[in-house]
């Protein structure tokens, strides 16, 4: 039951993060996705989000469910950006966190 509540919280964090990301990105970008630049702020949010979600064990002072909730929220903010925006940042964030996860679990 506790685990299920945590999963509900993660899903809700994803939904709320997506809505906030969508609203903020529409304010920031008034034109459709054409120039294909990388947004540094979104990149930082994506990297932090994926790190928190995949590598929560690196921060033992914060309970794992809080780390994952914050991570999922930040990931959703970038994934949920205006269509087209945020996908390069998401891929880079996932790759960085994935490499650290592999170094931490498989190679250590």
């Amino acid at each position: 039951m506790d685990n299920q509540i945590f999963y509900l919280i993660y899903v809700l964090a994803f939904v709320i993060g997506s809505i906030i990301g969508l609203v903020l990105s529409y304010k920031k970008y008034t034109e459709p996705f054409i120039r294909k630049n990388i947004d540094i702020t979104a990149l930082a949010i994506a990297i932090i989000g994926w790190l928190l979600a995949l590598n929560f064990a690196l921060i033992p002072v914060i309970p794992y469910y809080i780390s994952i909730t914050m991570g999922v929220f930040l990931i959703a903010m970038v994934i949920g950006m205006r269509p087209g925006y945020g996908r390069y940042e998401t891929v880079i964030g996932f790759a960085v966190a994935g490499i650290i996860w592999i170094l931490r679990t498989v190679l250590s």
Binding site: M1, N3, Q4, I5, Y7, L8, V11, L12, F14, V15, S18, I19, L22, P32, F33, I79, G80, R82, P83, G84
Partner: protein
């Protein structure tokens, strides 16, 4: 005596509390699972549209578009057509929602009998039929006729049920999960049955499915066309839960006990596959759709029975 009385009274209260706690836990469990089913189902629909858009070289809508769409209908005006058969026109949306909430209770909450879940699929077909006819719209009526027509395509549904029973000897979800824990996933022992179920999933997918003739775009939105505002919101909630439940049943019946993360990964993969199929396949006309499903069912049934009895 006084002490005994107090002890008895105390025990009585504790017993009552225990019963109350169990009921509360069940209610909380149902509420939690229904909420998760709606949210995850909606996000998966968004993912499906995103996959289809990327294949067609478009950015696609935001991943939460289906959910925003659903919530939007709850703040829109609910209009009732003059031709609507009241109160059936309203009741049918509530019935649709109720049967899929019941499916969540039978499935993820209680792990009940598979037969009941398949009965819900059959009722869903009847609800599609009645939702189409209750509005009086020509598009709804066409969808209503197609719902009857496509009942023949539910053959894979019953075939899956019977073949899984022949293989495992049970129709109880817990029994099927236990069988797979001992003998391995049914996906590998009954691949053709799994294929039939995938065809069923495609036929029930919402966006541009080649096999879903009741919601095909040539009849606008099929049986939903003349349902507006809150009523449409309820239909869309039901659709999200339907999608979640379809994938949940597939994963449970063919892969066994999974963790929530494994369920989520499985659902994402299946939704992406369905998105890919829907994006690259033309929408079939009703005759072709039914014949495709019946042909797949024939191959699945004969192949699965041959595999069970001769391999």
């Amino acid at each position: 005596m006084v002490i005994e009385f107090r002890i008895k009274k105390c025990r009585h209260i504790i017993t009552l509390n225990l019963i109350g706690e169990k009921k509360m836990n069940l209610m909380a469990d149902i509420l939690l699972n229904v909420t998760v089913a709606f949210l995850v189902g909606s996000i998966l629909f968004g993912l499906q549209r995103k996959v289809m858009a990327r294949i067609q070289m478009r950015p696609g809508p935001p991943i939460i578009q289906h959910m925003l769409h659903t919530l939007k209908f709850f703040i829109k005006e609910t209009v009732f057509p003059r031709t609507a058969a009241m109160p059936f026109y309203v009741a049918i949306t509530v019935i649709l929602c109720a049967i899929w909430v019941a499916a969540v209770i039978i499935g993820p909450v209680t792990h009940g009998p598979l037969l009941l879940l398949f009965a819900i699929f059959a009722i869903h077909k009847i609800v599609e039929h009645n939702a189409g006819s209750s509005s009086g719209s020509p598009y709804g009526k066409l969808s209503c006729v197609r719902a009857v027509f496509s009942a023949a395509a539910e053959l894979p549904l019953f075939a899956v049920l019977i073949i899984v029973f022949i293989q495992t000897g049970t129709m109880d979800l817990n029994g099927i999960i236990a069988y797979q824990a001992e003998h391995g996933a049914l996906l590998f022992t009954l691949p053709l049955t799994a294929m039939m179920f995938i065809a069923l999933i495609i036929s029930k997918s919402y966006y541009y499915s080649p096999l879903n003739i009741t919601l095909a775009r040539d009849i606008v939105s099929g049986f939903e066309t003349e349902h507006f505002g809150t009523l449409r919101g309820f239909i869309m909630i039901s659709e999200a839960i339907t999608w979640y439940m379809l994938l949940w049943i597939f994963l449970t019946v063919f892969l066994g006990a999974l963790t929530p993360i494994e369920y989520l990964i499985g659902m994402v993969i299946l939704t992406a596959i369905v998105g890919l199929i829907n994006a690259v396949t033309p929408i079939l006309n009703p005759n072709h759709s039914i014949m495709t499903e019946v042909t797949l069912a024939f191959i699945g049934i004969v192949g699965s029975l041959l595999m069970i009895f001769f391999l």
